[in-house]
Point group: none
Chain length 249, copies 2
Amino acid sequence: MLKKERQAYILHQVNLHNKVLSSSLCTEINVSEDTIRRDLQELAEEGKVIKVHGGALSHSFNQVYFSTNGVYSQNQKQVIARKAISLISNGMFVLTSGGTTIMELARSLPPQLKATFISGSIPAILEYMHHPNIEVILIGDKISKNSKITVGSEAIAKIKQVKADICFLGTNAIDVEHGITDNDWEVVQLKKAMIESSKKVVCLSIAEKVNSVQPIRVCGLDEIDLLITELPANDPVLTPYVEAGVKVL
Amino acid sequence: MLKKERQAYILHQVNLHNKVLSSSLCTEINVSEDTIRRDLQELAEEGKVIKVHGGALSHSFNQVYFSTNGVYSQNQKQVIARKAISLISNGMFVLTSGGTTIMELARSLPPQLKATFISGSIPAILEYMHHPNIEVILIGDKISKNSKITVGSEAIAKIKQVKADICFLGTNAIDVEHGITDNDWEVVQLKKAMIESSKKVVCLSIAEKVNSVQPIRVCGLDEIDLLITELPANDPVLTPYVEAGVKVL
DNA sequence: CAGGTTTCTGCGTTTTTTTGCAGGAATTTC
DNA sequence: GAAATTCCTGCAAAAAAACGCAGAAACCTG
């Protein structure tokens, strides 16, 4: 990996998460901490980041820090993202839906990962595009402006042409009795197609959305292989799902 | 292998992958590293690539990672955008390529316009998505990271399915003798398909790029209906094109 | 076509850049 | 205030770049 490339990655991470730890960066990029430190120093000299003990901050950090909304739930999503990423390995074909949890996953992908990501979600695609090593396949069709995802029969047909190794679904609502549910007809159609086209289906959901129900059904729990939340796997909230045969991470 | 040939290959690789390593290039082309280094230096001096320790980067690399949001010669592009918009009316199907000029067009679209826009350019799609009244159709396929556009046979097949009223092409180089030319093979294939699928082809180009030539040919002047630059239609620079049968706005 | 000139390419050497490592200093944290 | 982490400094090895040079190829030119 080129030096500029590495620094670009660091800058990208800083601007997205508002902070970055040198310790996590050096495992992500697989270089020594000294190198990271030197990179941060250079970026700091150029005024691109603010260097602090243990890592670096973005310039907008001070503004974001005191507006407490968003940041906290983002932490939870980062936990989910980290768990999800442990399931991805080199060479995989990965299908993803849209949603903020998926975005966090996209942002946290380690730069040395070489895989192919397939999605119809515009924000997700934007993130994948910044990644140095992943191939990006865009599912085309009419764009639904509010969900920022391509919907329609063409999109579904395209999804059915692939057989992905793994599929990550950002979840709006999950419940032991009703399974996964959602509130947008077209998005549901798409998610159904994605489930059919994947060997393994992984459901990402913040604990807040566990045990909630939405009007339209996506699938039952039996079609999910794995459920990921920010909670530890043995949390009592999740036991009903384990009993229903869903693996929990 | 000829020097020009070699440099064209290098340029193609840079535009395709956003970066090249001199070490991999010299095994690919089977020349010494010195030769590669000299080639990269020449290309860097011509402003075609950015040379870094260990290889080179494309210009779009910086554009993607370091958000240098000062768009090149924006005022001229706004003039072009205004002229182009006068050609669009309600109910039209509009095909567009990518590029910064197209972006300026996308941003300047009047909010009451009701039309359908079709494109594979991610930045353009993002702009169209914000518009209240236009329908957006996204052309899907593999994403070329440096041109931020979907490329490949699927994308071309999809474009061939439509017959648009008008097609706007952002142009890299136009010349009386060689017509429209570009430097990315896959993007050229896409543009060719777009030209075929449109009743009317409009070429957007800043004056600076008029009378310049790139390695790969898109089409001849006879296939263009209209050429738009920021110059007035009677500017002497444009008279050769008028004489060649191209309408100028 | 012969002779001269220029350009191109590869090789060896030197110089610079980059990176990781070790030890001691500084800082944080409990 | 002690332990742990992080930071800095100097150093060394590896990689890459720069430089000079020489043979080869291409290209004028009369």
